[in-house]
Symmetry: C2
Subunit: 327 residues, 2 copies
């Protein structure tokens, strides 16, 4: 297969942790290349094998706080734009970036273009859930204001993605709302509900609620990008807050032994909930495989993202999405 | 003061737990009365002092799954409608119900009427946060589709409520969005941001994100009722999911001693996060004090709700809200 191109400059710990993750993926036998500032990458120390990866020059770096649309339009020699172009031009099979989410989505949309028939691409975030297959939440932030037919496509693309990535047969699809009944919700959700209920190509189980995002039995949760992003950050924030509180209360000096033993019992749960294991969010609806990893990605997260990218290329995710949308 | 009227029939464990909570509030010296099915309440066993509370007859009970608007229009002799009427007619100072949230809000709106100048009432939910004053989230579900000027009023009412209930001086107000920058968000949020930024009567700190709902330093989180409700249920669902997982992993037979000691260390955290302590959500913007308690309310939750109702009557919440809206 064509190499996976990794944005060396995107992410809180870029380029070091990104390059380390890419090197590990290459060592695993996955053709992996980098895009970014060659000199800065060459100067990295302590990453064995880093010199063996091809690096394509991109002189600019889009920051995490930059306005995405403007950044992509004006910084044409940025690692994000150049990476997306390598997929467009047939030099790479997939693009992985832990950089500015909006900028990666915008660059992929502008350079790779939409799949035929797709209204808007969506960011599909994988939510790890202890004890079951992960869940897919989409859109988790590509488009803040949505139309019912866009959400309808998100449902089809999310369903196809859950099937292709997690091999779930007829994944259950739920529409995020504020009550299970079809008449509950805002105007967007009520209109979307009708479209999903009439679509025999997906396994629509009706409205789901915020509590079902982690706890329920739904595989694919459909929302507009505003609500999806708020939910994702509420979920991450709540888990992070509780983990900090639990650690604080289990590390009191007067119960050090109990605390450390208990934290040992709870460590697997923390690992199962950690987003690094799932490697990143998938941009669905563009003509190429594009993974948007968490800004805080560790080397492991990047390695996992490259693995997922390889799998999605091999299983031809893009063709699967195109077929789902065209159905 | 005039008595607080409690809906004996609303809630998952009604009427038993509701009556038990009301009796405890009365024993605390708060004038408390009940509305509901007199015979059913008289037949309750095991609640000492239940016979001493005045009960006003209401022959109908609105169910948790009933469509709120229709239920309130057609079930005129329901405990929810009759309870709201006792406030309207000057027989009670406040109404407490753990019944169908939408029906309580609708009955309060139709019977007590809006405060002058209020566009729409909002449900203000108190979120207990370990180690700090609770936060206020509004609207947490009264209106799914909102206008910018409604959210603007929610900000003023929420700010006044945080000040009156928690004695926070100039509470910080945040607008729930998907990024801190003013230009981030959906159309509703972007328009609302301008209104809040121009309002010197509130301490607006800008946009906040899902992670700030528990973790940040904001006192009042403003959202439309759809997003607010989704966030509230995501928060509750995530906490509930994690509590279950933690208990499961700390109750394995091979580490029973460590597990039970650790759960003892964590029990205060669970108690601090439990909604029973805060007594219920407050409907802001109607001409009366109206508390909507959680469906799962325990007797303690109801007692706390009656206490909060008493406090809000004594501190004249309604006049404070009217002044905040008119500013």
């Amino acid at each position: 297969m064509l190499p996976v191109i990794v944005d060396a400059m995107g992410g809180d710990n870029a380029p070091h942790d990104i390059v380390a993750g890419a090197v590990a993926a290459a060592a695993d036998g996955i053709p992996t290349e980098l895009v970014g500032r060659i000199e800065q990458i060459a100067a990295l120390e302590g990453i064995e094998g880093a010199g063996e990866l091809a690096v394509y020059e991109a002189s600019e770096v889009i920051g995490m706080a930059d306005e995405p649309g403007r950044a992509v339009r004006t910084m044409k020699d940025s690692s994000i734009v150049r990476g997306a172009e390598r997929v467009r031009d047939g030099h790479a099979s997939a693009f992985v970036s832990a950089g500015n989410t909006g900028a990666v989505a915008a660059a992929a949309l502008l350079r790779m273009k939409r799949l035929p028939g797709v209204n808007r691409p969506a960011i599909a975030t994988t939510l790890p859930v202890p004890g079951r297959t992960p869940k897919i939440l989409l859109d988790s932030g590509a488009m803040a204001d949505c139309q019912p037919d866009w959400l309808h496509q998100y449902a089809r693309m999310g369903s196809a993605f859950a099937n292709i990535r997690y091999e779930i047969d007829r994944p259950t699809v739920g529409l995020l709302s504020i009550g299970e009944e079809p008449e509950k919700g805002n105007l967007l959700v009520k209109e979307t509900h009708k479209l999903l209920a009439d679509d025999g190509s997906i396994n629509f189980i009706g409205n789901v609620e915020g509590r079902d995002v982690l706890g329920g039995e739904v595989d694919v949760v459909v929302a507009d990008g505003f609500t999806g992003n708020v939910v994702l950050k509420t979920l991450e924030g709540t888990i992070g807050f509780l983990v900090d509180e639990i650690v604080a209360r289990l590390t009191v000096p007067e119960a050090a032994d109990v605390g450390s033993a208990a934290l040992g019992l709870l460590a697997p749960l923390a690992a199962e909930l950690h987003p690094d294991a799932v490697g990143g969010a998938m941009l669905l609806g563009v003509n190429g495989v594009c993974i948007i990893s968490h800004g805080s990605s560790s080397p492991t997260a990047i390695t996992n993202a490259v693995r997922v990218a390889r799998d999605m290329v091999e299983r031809d995710l893009v063709a699967g999405l195109a077929a789902a949308v065209a159905r």
